[in-house]
Subunit: 138 residues, 2 copies
């Protein structure tokens, strides 16, 4: 779909290429990541990039469908599978005045699949030294 | 936000007014409702209107935020509470060529709140003679 912001175009390319090192320059320093699994939000570029790289390994057959935005806020609809269960979601991506991602919020359905995602994310973050250091209280 | 389709404008008014009888004329005969709670979809105007009227009673402090669309597909971001728990969601609303709602899909976060919604919806649909007649196998 036309008229996406260059940051969003670049983000969609990162997702396709899997080159997660290209994600960091698209994120604002104070970016917030709001996951479908918990209400709590993850602050900062490093955590957000790390979370998204874990998610990318859990989501199978991931594909963006309709993508639409108004210059600062974009809705990116995706379909994927988690442990064989179907899911639909929307990445709500908000840019700051510099055109960097300041808020990345993910809403999904159905409940059961998000439960699988939560389980898989817990396993991965518990095994990831980066998150062990955070002593993140969820 | 500008440039919403008249059907979407009318839908937003129905939500504000709570006049659920005004919803039916906005729905296509073969509308599908895809809930955040289950993967299964609900077919038809009567069921969709009924489901939405139950949801309207469960969602507290419901408010639409950013709403955006491209003529046929609209993303309506909302915030609400379910049994005191916060939620964010997006209604993905797709119109048919006649401008009627043919697909109403709801994605939400976080997992825990959607679990509460599922619990509340189960209680309500089990007590609703309309759904008892359906013998709907979820």
């Amino acid at each position: 779909m036309a008229d996406l912001h260059p940051t969003i175009e670049a983000f969609l390319k990162v997702v396709q290429s899997g080159k997660k090192e290209d994600l960091i320059p698209l994120l604002a320093d104070d970016v917030l990541f709001k996951p479908p699994t918990y209400w709590k939000e993850w602050p900062g570029k490093e955590i957000t990039a790390r979370i998204l790289s874990h998610v990318a390994l859990i989501f199978k057959e991931f594909k963006y469908h309709r993508t639409i935005g108004d210059g600062q806020c974009f809705f990116l609809e995706f379909h994927c599978k988690v442990n064989g269960l179907d899911a639909v979601g929307v990445d709500i991506v908000t840019l700051d005045d510099a055109g960097l991602i300041k808020l990345f919020e993910v809403v999904m359905r159905p409940h059961k699949t998000v439960g699988e995602l939560r389980k898989e994310m817990n396993i991965r973050t518990m095994q990831d030294p980066f998150f062990q250091k955070l002593a993140f209280n969820r």
